[in-house]
């Protein structure tokens, strides 16, 4: 079956469920891309669904970072203590596939025909790098961003939540209104923008947060985007697509892994060229 490509993933949407799948295949099995996991697939699936209908709350299984998922999508996590069932569930399969389904929906997984073969050695090395990065004792020798500091801005980082102030829309939000009492309301920005500049850092020159994976990826790329809603921002590009940049190229921002520290994955929005 021909799949829809959505935020770099394959999507098969039905009335009461949506399947999200990695396009990458190794030895006949679906595997995650270089900066993807079940949480990133689930967020993509939910954002796809939210185009068509609202989701009041959702139940997520172990293995998915519910807090990040909730901040990225704005969907409330279902209270596990509650007597009623969640209206929607996130379901995981053994392979790099996630299903977002209405509770009790009859889910039938389909076989999608897009398959991008990945190199076995690369995949093994990258998985090992993530495993090493994810150990609780691993603390990057980069400029340290504590968990508290990361979480303070996580909502803005993961959902592109900006701020409406007298001068217009600001992102990331500022705390000025706390001091001067000026009006400030949240403003959810569109996740699209155009390239104003870019660079690719060599593996040796990449920040040490990325030192385990940058050599495998051949360096890391960053774009400076003019967001369609006004503010500007700098974003890493997705790890699993070859970068080809040009000025004014339209890009979208998708939810991916950034790096891990102290056993905790920090997620963020990364840029990828909008599919034709």
């Amino acid at each position: 079956m021909t799949a829809e490509v959505w935020m770099g993933y394959l999507v098969d949407a039905h009335d009461d469920f949506v399947m999200v799948q990695s396009p990458f295949v190794l030895d006949g099995s679906r595997v995650f891309g270089a900066d993807s996991d079940v949480t990133t697939l689930a967020v993509a699936g939910l954002l796809h669904r939210l185009q068509h209908e609202s989701i009041a709350s959702i139940s997520v299984p172990d293995g998915i970072d519910g807090q990040s998922l909730s901040m990225a999508t704005g969907i409330v996590l279902h209270d596990e203590e509650a007597e009623d069932e969640a209206p929607w569930d996130v379901l995981m399969s053994d392979e790099a596939t996630v299903v977002i389904a209405k509770h009790g929906a009859d889910v039938e997984l389909t076989t999608l025909d897009v398959e991008v073969e990945v190199d076995s050695a690369f995949n093994t090395a990258l998985e090992a790098a993530w495993e090493a990065e994810l150990t609780a004792t691993h603390v990057s020798q980069g400029a340290y961003v504590s968990r508290a500091q990361y979480e303070e801005a996580a909502k803005s980082r993961l959902s592109l939540l900006g701020q409406s102030v007298q001068e217009g829309v600001v992102w990331p939000p500022r705390f000025t209104h706390v001091v001067d009492g000026s009006p400030s309301t949240g403003h959810l920005l569109q996740r699209t923008g155009t390239v104003q500049s870019w660079t690719t850092l060599s593996a040796a020159g990449a920040p040490s947060e990325f030192s385990l994976r940058a050599p495998l990826l051949g360096g890391i790329s960053t774009v400076y985007l003019q967001l369609d809603d006004g503010p500007r921002g700098v974003f890493l590009t997705v790890d699993d697509e070859s970068p080809h940049f040009e000025m004014d190229l339209s890009m979208e921002l998708v939810f991916r892994r950034l790096y891990a520290q102290e056993g905790f994955i920090r997620y963020g929005l990364k840029a990828r060229a909008i599919d034709d």
Partner: protein
């Protein structure tokens, strides 16, 4: 109240055998020895020492440790931190201390020991002054940040990487004549153009080296300056400004607003404009930074910094203003906290005719120093002259 520089000294920049205490003692000793008259450090009223405290080996109370080892025991001292502009601001603080009437003799200096760390720890400290929360987590180091500026600049104006290569070649030429420079070696255009790519489009030859070093200057109020020398270098203008820490919060990334604001204040105080600057030590941590600085400081028009470099207008005694006669950060080196007052050391010697004839800026009467913190979040600009304001 006018303020003069009456002494200035520095270590050679580079991989220095000495540690913090030894380097500072050497720089302070040279500064005190450069004072023409008798100079007893016990008369110093205040001291301001710029440093990021790279490596964290003495992160707190750095300045007290250093003065203890340089015959300045007991004086009022503090560390000033504004990233790479730390000692530019230390100098401004020293100038303000005298202007306020609270001090007559003040020391300003800077220091950084960068080469005694493992590569991993070095990368940590090289990243602490950028916007860690947004830029750093978007993969940016300072080479990456300036690479974004460079590519955008090429897009907006008539410029290319070749213009940056001209900056690199010029500053290596100037540095090859400076005995205090980290890299005392000329580089050909072809070699600089083909360097290892660090952050596309910036190559190794677009980036300053990682240097150890210390610098120190002695400032004096007008009513005591005569005791120390008949040829003081007068501080004619001081300006400082700040801007958003992160690039994405600025209206443009092809201009440093902090530089423009700081230099406008310094020029206004000095009663001059950019055309009267004979010699400028500008903050070329990356070659694109010098291109932007020549515009922001008014040596060239907006969008003409590339042309300025291409035409060799900043080369020693070839254009109206010699830019980075010392070799600049690119070749003289960039021991972060030491850089700002290190620029003053160069200007002090140039305006007093105390450098080798081969690298002397002819008829130098008025000079400028330009010290930038990070990618432009802070900036201090000073104007100096042989004549009293």
């Amino acid at each position: 109240m006018d303020v003069a520089v009456v002494g200035a000294g520095q270590t050679k920049y580079g991989n220095h055998a000495l540690g913090l205490k030894g380097m500072w003692a050497e720089a302070a000793g040279k500064a005190f020895a450069s004072v023409d008259g008798d100079f007893d450090p016990s008369i110093i009223d205040e001291a301001f020492i710029g440093s990021i405290a790279f490596g964290g080996s003495q992160l707190g109370n750095t300045a007290a440790l250093l003065t203890e080892h340089s015959a300045m025991d007991g004086i009022s001292v503090r560390r000033v931190e504004n990233a790479c502009a730390s000692s530019g601001f230390a100098f401004r603080d020293a100038w303000m201390a005298i202007k306020s009437g609270q001090a007559d003799v003040v020391v300003a200096g800077g220091i950084e020991k960068m080469n005694d760390l493992t590569p991993e720890r070095k990368r940590y400290w090289l990243g602490v002054s950028g916007d860690t929360e947004w830029e750093r987590l978007a993969g940016l180091t300072f080479p990456g940040t300036y690479a974004l500026m460079a590519r955008r600049y090429f897009h907006e104006f008539d410029a290319s990487h070749d213009d940056l290569v001209h900056v690199s070649v010029k500053n290596h030429l100037h540095g090859s004549m400076n005995p205090d420079a980290h890299i005392q070696k000329e580089v050909s255009f072809e070699k600089a153009a083909g360097g290892f790519m660090v952050a596309d489009p910036l190559t190794l030859y677009d980036c300053c080296p990682t240097s150890d070093g210390a610098s120190c200057v002695v400032l004096a109020a007008d009513h005591v300056a005569k005791k120390f020398t008949d040829t003081p270098v007068w501080v004619r203008g001081s300006g400082a400004a700040s801007d958003h820490l992160a690039l994405h919060d600025r209206p443009t990334i092809t201009q440093l607003k902090a530089t423009r604001d700081a230099s406008n204040k310094a020029y206004a105080m000095a009663g001059i404009d950019a055309r009267q600057i004979d010699l400028a030590e500008v903050h070329d941590c990356f070659t694109i930074a010098e291109v932007l600085a020549t515009e922001d400081l008014g040596f060239s028009g907006r969008g003409e910094g590339g042309l300025f470099a291409r035409n060799g207008e900043g080369r020693l005694n070839e254009g109206h203003t010699t830019v980075n006669a010392s070799g600049g950060l690119k070749s003289k080196g960039h021991p972060l906290g030491a850089t700002g007052t290190g620029q003053v050391v160069e200007v002090f010697k140039q305006l007093r005719g105390q450098v080798a004839p081969s690298r002397q800026v002819r008829d130098a009467e008025t000079a400028l120093t330009h010290n930038v913190g990070g990618s432009g979040a802070t900036c201090a600009v000073h104007v100096f002259g042989r004549d009293r304001p």
